[in-house]
């Protein structure tokens, strides 16, 4: 489902070229869940950004469900994201001026799915915040916001779900809820799950663990 070949990211800083991602080769099977762990600043988000096509690599190849991401332009990548990819972020990233329901409808509308509202109400029910449909993000608690974000990620039934520290801003109880929701949906719709986390427990729940260390990605065997 995901495959990289010699993926490298360098950035230019005031002190010259800096390689923040060393040549990376790895692949993820369909329906697998993997966790990327590692210390802060090691390059986890960088990798995630590349895999999701939000950023372009300096060199190397990325294949996403058979599509050569490295060869696509921003428009084509956006289309690919809309069709195949879902996202969950540490800071939820809901559109503040849309209600919970409308936030969930957003990807469905962007990708042109039929009946976005019915679909949205359905997933909203699944994540358990149906009673909050008409509320704006700043009227929701962190846990509720993240559930809305999860609902938004699943409405298009993506093949791959990327999550960057999805529980980073939540307390233990909410974290547990969100985690179980995430895995439940992952199982239900056979979604490939790539999540970045600092939480070892969450990492353990995944099929595989990879550790990032100063731009070098290694498989962790438990």
């Amino acid at each position: 489902m995901i495959k990289t070949e010699n993926l490298i990211k360098t950035v230019s800083t005031s002190e010259g070229e800096l390689q923040i991602l060393q040549p990376t080769n790895f692949s993820v099977e369909e329906g697998q869940s993997i966790a990327i762990v590692g210390s802060s600043g090691s390059g986890k988000s960088t990798l995630l950004g590349l895999l999701a096509g939000l950023d372009t690599a300096s060199s190397g190849e990325i294949w996403l469900d058979g599509a050569p991401l490295h060869a696509l332009d921003e428009e084509a990548r956006a289309q690919l994201r809309g069709e195949k990819v879902g996202f969950i972020f540490q800071s939820f990233m809901l559109v503040p001026s849309l209600t919970a329901l409308e936030n969930i409808m957003l990807p469905a509308e962007i990708t042109g799915l039929s009946n976005p509202k019915i679909r949205a109400l359905e997933v909203l029910k699944q994540v358990g915040v149906a009673h909050r449909a008409g509320h704006y993000p700043n009227q929701l608690s962190g846990g509720e916001q993240q559930r809305v974000a999860i609902a938004r990620a699943f409405i298009t039934q993506p093949k791959i779900l990327f999550a960057d520290e999805p529980t980073g801003n939540l307390d233990a109880k909410n974290s547990d809820n969100v985690e179980s929701l995430l895995f439940e949906l992952n199982k239900q719709s056979n979604t490939t799950l790539v999540l970045v986390t600092h939480d070892p427990e969450l990492a353990l729940k995944c099929d595989r663990q990879l550790s990032m260390n100063a731009g070098v990605l290694e498989e962790v065997t438990v």
Binding site: A78, E83, S97, P137, N138
Partner: protein, 845 residues
């Protein structure tokens, strides 16, 4: 799929409008549309009224005057253009009655005369005139009070004009286009146009002026003129409109119109700045939503559509509300000013609405363009790396479009490239100054802001850190303050100059033909009666003979004269000469040296040649300059004078002014008559006949009615200007509020963080207030400086006024800037700090 962007845009728009997120940008558009509409609608209506008022001075909307009879065909065809017409034939002629002879200004008018204004008749000699709608019947003559004195006639007597006899039936007080000249003004006689042929005064060789008056709608008048103008002979015909009026009233009206234009332009700029500020803030707030939508797969074109639709909705709403608000505001002002300011009764004009809509859309589009372009190019990666802003960071381009848009708006609105460029260039100078001073400020801040972290240091640290943002903010504050200053100072200067023009006690009567012998007794008699005369000036009429060696021939027929004098336009045969060694009040020597300031003996003038000082404009018209020799025939003597100085004269004052001032030595041999003026309070008017009784031969001119007319127009225009000043001040203050709020917005995050870190509210507040105080005072100072530049340009280039420094504003502007901006900052900061940190943080979402 295709309906999606619109739906999404509508949804975003609806929610954001409901939650007040759009208030500032919407408000800015409403403000721009409302102020432009109310200002231009008001000034359109006011101008309508003023133009009507000034039309009285030419007795019509347009006047065609000619030296030869005007083709009756032209008058007929005017009627097919829906124009009303009237006619007047006038000439100087001898009047004979009671064995006395007098030169009169004979006016023969048709039944419809005057088309604008009214003829006034005096119930008694020299009494205040009363309006009449009639004209003299056949065989009747209405004559001036002075002529009753000169000829010793009374009502019912007969008078001979040329070869015809008339009965004197009324005392003529004034006619609308009677003219304003004290010299050469012979007493007026009004007769019916049908009688003019019988007098036989219009035969060959006499100087006759034929006039046709026109009124009608502006477009009909223009259409007619387009057809007429190819047939006109510039040597013979003169087409006159109200705007050509060069009387003090005409100039006041023209100046007022320019002021309205200026004020409206400034209102447009203010609104544009407000929209720019708001759009920037709007775009920044949408960085995240755009990044999210892109992450979710939205294409750039979808994003573009979503936001263009949104801006469209906002602009539409803003324009509709703005138009309503503007109209209501203007209507309120008109009813509030009712009685003081006369405005046209027509309450609706399309031009102001079109301008307002155009302004609203151009502002919305062009000022939002760059922030939006930035917004469109937000990379989706922002969802992971929060610090990523737009990759589209052409600030230069942004300023270029914003500046271009302002210039375009000003130009379209004023249709005057010069005034637009002046404002624009001084704006650019201001921006340059500000950028330089911001840099200076940052250097200064490095020194002042070092040391322990208190509120003061925090304020400086903020200014320092966000130097570019701050300079943008500074510039917009300074621009706003500058524009307010320009309008304020301009208004003060204009109103002051008008008041100076006609101070209380301005002479309302002129006396001419005072003889040398009468002079002492007249002064005595007047002072015995408690009336002060404004000095007696000697006058003599001189006929031009030569300019240098060029002989001027007058005694041949008119047609020839026209061609020989082509190069020296505006050349009369005769000139009124005065002589003095004292420079008259309101005169200023701009070239050479005033002949009272040096002695004739030591000069290098040839013997028998005396100095003369000429007025600037007459010098230009007649092409006479320093060192030219003029030869006059005075009485029967020849006098040669050399131009040794050139003066400017304040024509706006109601005092005798002279083109040519000679040295008294040149005139020693001549008998002079004197001219003077005095002020008689209205309540003493009845004494006039008694007062003048001992001086029957002295000619008196009553200009009281004229002065009152001028004064009432000036009062009206001043009141209108007051309103516009207030409107611009309100607009400006609102812009300041918007700016402070927008910049407060940017501080919100920082405040929240400081608050979370446990900083005391009082310290945060103090630091914000200091910051705004610093910004306000620097902006005020910069504005005062830029104000001087633009005022100088405006006053000298557009308003033709004297320009002076306004030092007091160098202090007032920084002080009020600091106080107002500081206060605004304090209130919005207080509002922010009164929220708890939780709310503050969640608002940042």
């Amino acid at each position: 799929m295709s309906a999606m962007p619109r739906q999404l845009a509508w949804r975003l728009f609806k929610h954001e409008a409901k939650r007040g997120e759009l208030s500032i940008i919407l408000f800015a558009i409403i403000l721009s549309v409302a102020s432009v509409l109310s200002l231009s609608l008001f000034s359109e209506r006011l101008q309508g009224a003023l133009t009507d008022r000034s039309a009285e001075f030419i007795a019509a909307d347009r006047q065609l005057s000619a030296r030869t009879p005007i083709d009756p065909e032209w008058v007929m065809s005017a009627q097919t253009f829906n124009l009303a017409t009237a006619q007047q034939t006038s000439t100087r002629s001898m009047a004979f009655a009671n064995d006395e002879l007098a030169l009169v200004d004979l006016r023969a008018v048709s039944g419809d005369y005057p088309l604008k204004g009214t003829i006034k008749l005096a119930p008694e000699l020299f009494a205040t005139g009363v309006e009449t709608t009639q004209i003299p019947a056949l065989g009747e003559a209405w004559i001036d009070s002075r002529l009753f004195q000169l000829l010793g006639v009374s009502l019912g007597d007969s008078i001979e004009l040329g070869e015809a006899q008339f009965t004197i039936t009324k005392i003529l007080s004034e006619i609308p286009d009677g003219g304003f000249s004290v010299f050469n003004a012979d007493p007026m006689v009004l007769i019916n146009l049908a009688d003019i042929d019988a007098t036989r005064v219009t035969g060959p060789g006499s100087r006759v002026n034929y006039k046709v008056y026109f009124t009608g709608s502006e477009s009909d008048l223009d259409d007619y003129f387009d057809v007429l103008s190819p047939q006109l002979d510039r040597q013979v015909h003169r087409w006159l409109s109200v705007q050509d009026d060069t009387s003090p009233i005409g100039e006041s009206v023209a100046r007022a119109e320019q002021f309205f234009l200026l004020a409206s332009l400034l209102a447009i700029i203010l609104a544009a700045v407000a929209i720019g500020v708001a759009a920037q803030r709007y775009a920044q707030r949408h960085f995240d939503p755009v990044a999210i939508m892109k992450t979710l797969g939205a294409s750039t074109s979808t994003i573009r559509k979503v936001y263009l639709y949104q801006i469209g909705f906002i602009a539409l709403l803003g324009i509709v509300i703005g138009a309503i608000v503007g109209f209501v505001l203007q209507q309120l002002v008109v009813s509030a000013l009712a009685g003081t300011v006369e405005v046209s009764l027509q309450i609706w004009y399309w031009r102001p609405l079109l301008i307002a809509i155009f302004t609203g859309s151009v502002c919305a589009l062009l000022f939002c363009l760059y922030p939006l372009l930035g917004l469109f190019s937000i990379p989706p990666l922002r969802v992971l790396r929060r610090d990523i802003a737009s990759s589209f960071t052409s600030r230069g381009g942004q300023y270029l479009t914003a500046g271009g848009a302002i210039l375009l708006l000003m130009w379209v609105y004023s249709q005057n490239l010069k005034i637009s460029l002046i404002l624009f260039v001084s704006g650019l100078i201001l921006v340059g100054l500000l950028l330089a001073s911001t840099l200076g400020l940052i250097v200064l801040g490095r020194i002042l802001g070092s040391g322990r972290m208190g509120a003061w240091q925090l304020a400086w640290a903020r200014i320092k850190r966000r130097s570019l943002d701050n300079s943008v903010q500074l510039i917009s504050f300074a621009l706003t303050i500058m524009l307010l200053l320009v309008v304020l100072v301009m208004r003060n200067d204009i109103v002051q100059q008008w008041r100076d023009q006609l101070p209380q006690g301005t002479a309302n009567y002129f006396l001419t033909n005072v003889t040398e012998e009468q002079r002492p007794s007249l002064i005595q008699h007047f002072s015995d009666n408690g009336i002060e005369t404004d000095g007696l000036f000697p006058v003599s009429r001189g006929r031009f003979v030569k300019i240098n060696d060029e002989i001027l021939r007058h005694d041949i027929t008119k047609e020839k004269e026209d061609t020989t004098n082509e190069t020296r336009r505006g050349m009369g045969r005769e000139a009124n000469l005065t002589w003095d060694t004292q420079l008259q009040m309101g005169n200023e020597v701009i070239a050479g040296k005033w002949h009272g300031d040096w002695s004739l003996e030591n000069s290098d003038l040839p013997p028998g040649v005396y100095p003369v000082s000429i007025e600037e404009r007459v010098g230009e018209r007649m092409r006479i300059g320093m060192g030219d020799k003029l030869t006059f025939n005075i009485g029967s003597e020849i006098v040669t004078v050399e131009v040794t100085s050139i003066r400017t004269v304040n024509w706006q004052t109601m005092q005798p002014n002279f083109f040519f001032v000679l040295h008294p030595m040149a005139m020693e041999a001549f008998r002079a008559s004197y001219i003077t003026s005095f002020y008689l309070p209205p309540e003493r008017k009845p004494e006039l006949t008694r007062l003048m009784a001992p001086f029957a031969s002295v000619t008196m001119f009553d200009v009281d009615a004229r002065i009152n007319q001028v004064r009432s127009i000036i009062e009206q225009v001043s009141a209108a200007i007051e309103f516009i000043l207030i409107l611009v001040l309100v607009a400006g203050s609102l812009v300041l509020v918007a700016q402070v709020q927008a910049s407060m917005d940017e501080r919100q995050r920082e405040l929240a963080i400081l608050r979370t870190l446990g900083a005391k509210g009082s310290m945060i507040r103090a630091s914000v207030i200091y910051e705004f105080l610093i910004i306000g005072s620097v902006a005020g100072l910069m504005a005062a400086l830029a104000n001087e530049v633009s005022l100088y340009l405006l006053q000298t280039q557009i308003f033709q006024m004297q320009s002076s420094l306004h030092i007091e504003y160098w202090l007032i502007a920084p002080l009020t800037g600091a106080v107002v901006v500081g206060l605004l900052g304090a209130t919005s900061c207080w509002r922010l700090l009164s929220m708890n940190t939780q709310v503050l943080l969640s608002k940042m979402l």
